[in-house]
């Protein structure tokens, strides 16, 4: 009995060792190949197509997220192509209703030298109004200086990386020449919340680095009105104590073919390949504000743990397929493909389920590396055979 157990144990040891070596070699090959992807121009289109892809996008695009009530704390007002006089009237009307804060996601870069502009400048510098500016290559693109006095402002950039990428994360604060600047949605949320709450939630630290956006909805998930409609309301008290954002939501509201101030987000119906942008800038700001207000931040699993998980899964896959290769002679390839398919489907399901609960694991690279390691087993087998022609190398395959 014991004599039978010993070879079994040593065989099992050999299996784990082979799996470890195979995984290690596959990962080294993977890294070398990925370097080629980075450096070869030939692969650029492929790289370009894959860099914006995330399996988690199907969570939104296939509407797997729960339908939530409309966020009535944030009211969006679509300025469409209204003139400055109408915008001024809108701002004044909202201010009369005593809102908590107004976010003005509109740039006024030229001055008409009119009475309207004088009044606009006064309104935009009200303590309840937060204006916007763009921060580009350490340069500020502000409203015309006539409108910029001592009012609060926030930059409207989402991030400082690729401009054409899907907006998945945003940079809450940006340090430039030893000064810290706040993003527009951060400035709006900060004005709305009490200072005690802001610090109690640890936001100064939390919002010091780029953060993934937990999208709640497109514009339909927020109370929204075209400016003209809002001005015609006999009673405007729905904006009392609310965050009111002025910006562009298409003309007419939600027009899918209007791409002014529209961006790619994970909510796009097309998860990979060509498509048109899907979300207006103001709605992205609204989603960020909502995330800050309700403290619904996502937890991104750190790179270190991602690497550990990838290695562990690759190791298990290698061990399993080395074992399977010795058991099945004819049907091995078919069974391997079926198992890898089931693994991919279940792993994506698991990562989406975790995402639903606020934990982000980027599944695409983990799956890609694991599948690569599973396929690498055959190369390892040939390598072992080759080494054995030169010298004695104990292996599970022998």
């Amino acid at each position: 009995m014991d004599s039978e157990l010993v070879p079994k144990r040593s065989k099992r040891k050999l299996l784990w060792r082979d799996a470890f070596l195979s995984t290690l070699l596959s990962l080294i090959t993977c890294i070398l190949l990925s370097l080629l992807f980075v450096n070869l121009n030939f692969f650029n289109p492929l790289k370009k197509a894959l860099e914006d892809f995330s399996f988690l996008d199907i969570y939104y695009s296939e509407q797997m997220h729960p339908y939530l009530e409309m966020d009535s704390n944030i009211v969006l007002i679509n300025i469409e192509h209204e003139n400055r006089e109408t915008i001024l009237e809108g701002l004044q009307n909202v201010l009369e209703e005593n809102p908590a804060v107004i976010g003005f996601d509109v740039m006024l870069q030229h001055l008409d030298k009119s009475k309207t502009d004088t009044l606009l400048a006064r309104v935009l510098n009200d303590k309840k109004v937060i204006s916007s500016y763009i921060l580009k290559k350490s340069q500020f693109f502000l409203n015309h200086p006539f409108f910029v006095r001592d009012g609060k402002q926030g930059y409207v950039n989402y991030n400082f990386g690729y401009q054409d990428a899907v907006v998945r994360e945003f940079t809450p604060t940006y340090v430039f020449q030893e000064n810290t600047f706040e993003a527009f949605p951060v400035a709006v949320a900060k004005s709305y919340m009490s200072t005690d709450e802001w610090y109690a939630r640890g936001y100064p630290k939390k919002l010091s680095k780029p953060i993934l956006i937990n999208y709640k909805s497109d514009y339909l998930g927020f109370v929204h009105f075209p400016l003209k409609d809002f001005l015609s309301f006999p009673d405007k008290k729905m904006v009392k104590d609310k965050i009111v954002l002025f910006g562009y939501l298409g003309s007419p509201t939600g027009n899918p073919f209007d791409v002014e101030d529209k961006h790619f987000t994970p909510l796009n119906k097309v998860t990979a390949g060509k498509s048109i942008p899907d979300m207006y800038g103001m709605v992205i700001h609204a989603n960020i504000i909502s995330m800050i207000l309700y403290n619904t931040f996502l937890y991104e699993v750190p790179l270190f743990w991602m690497v550990i998980l990838t290695f562990f899964l690759s190791f298990l896959a290698s061990a399993y397929f080395i074992w399977l290769d010795t058991k099945l002679k004819i049907s091995y390839r078919t069974v391997r493909k079926a198992i890898l398919f089931v693994f991919t489907v279940l792993f994506v399901w698991l990562t989406i389920a975790l995402f639903k609960n606020g934990i982000v694991i980027k599944s695409a690279p983990i799956i890609a590396v694991t599948l690569f390691s599973a396929g690498f087993v055959k190369f390892y087998k040939h390598l072992v055979k080759y080494i054995n022609t030169k010298t004695v190398f104990n292996s599970y395959y022998r």
Binding site: Q63, P66, Y67, L68, E69, M70, S72, D229, A353
Partner: protein
């Protein structure tokens, strides 16, 4: 003395509780609407109007109203029915919460079996049937005249066409055959009556599918609504006249943009 004080105390507590309940009560405003719904007080149920506690909302056949409360909950009311304030909370929209796992595996299955509909692109623009072009009254026109001069253009070979006229919330349809491209009908309190909405269409067929023919809507204003609208439009006319536009052009533009065509 103590009794008086006690009864006053009871009264104050009652007032406080009642007022607190009043303040705590939900408030709903109209977020979206279909049709021209009215409250019982003839107040128009338009976007942004609050549903007051004593209001009754009357909705006819195709009319719908979506209301939102302060916490963002959505309530949908549809006709034909009349709703009082207390009915709103019973009509909360139930959000579709299908299981995420079920949705995910349905998605995988559709991908796996390639059942997803292929996307077909077509480089084309659509144009409606131009055989009969209805000129007047324009769609959604608001009129205030003793007679309505219906005009259309017949681009077909057929001489005889049929005018179909029906009251919007009624079942009866009047059909008149004619070989001309216009017809004068009087507001005679019989066929046409002030304060009512009508739909009219022209067909080449004497018995067309009444659901498929395209109707123009037409509102015959009552005296009060006309005076209100006229006041607003007179201001517009005056403003644009001062800017140097000819009055006829202004009225034409008002008819095209505001569908107010009583001139």
């Amino acid at each position: 003395m103590a009794r008086i004080l006690f009864s006053r105390l009871i009264f104050i507590i009652f007032c406080v509780v009642y007022t607190a309940e009043g303040f705590g009560q939900e408030s709903y405003y109209i977020y979206q609407k279909t049709g021209e719904p009215l409250f019982s007080s003839d107040k128009k149920a338009i976007r942004g109007v609050y549903f007051e506690t004593l209001d009754t909302l009357r909705l006819s056949d195709d009319e719908k109203v979506t209301l939102v409360n302060q916490t963002g909950e959505i309530f949908a009311l549809s006709g034909p029915n009349a709703y009082v304030f207390q009915d709103i909370s019973k009509n909360k929209v139930q959000l579709n919460q299908t299981s995420f796992t079920r949705k995910y595996f349905t998605y995988v299955w559709t991908q796996f079996t390639n059942r997803r509909k292929s996307k077909q692109e077509a480089g084309v623009v659509y144009r409606e049937d131009r055989t009969i072009i209805k000129h007047f009254p324009v769609d959604s026109a608001k009129l205030y005249q003793p007679s309505i001069f219906f005009r259309w253009e017949n681009n077909s070979e057929a001489d005889l066409v049929y005018l179909f006229l029906k009251q919007r919330d009624g079942d009866h349809i009047t059909k008149i055959g004619t070989a001309s491209d216009s017809m004068l009908l009087y507001v005679d309190n019989n066929l046409l009556k002030k304060g009512r909405q009508y739909e009219w269409a022209i067909s080449l067929e004497p018995f067309p599918s009444l659901k498929d023919i395209k109707y123009n809507t037409l509102t015959l204003l009552d005296d009060e609504t006309f005076q209100e609208l006229k006041k607003e439009m007179d201001v517009l006319i005056k403003t644009f006249t001062l800017l140097g536009y000819p009055e006829a052009k202004i009225k034409e533009a008002i008819c095209a943009d505001y569908k107010f065509c009583p001139y």
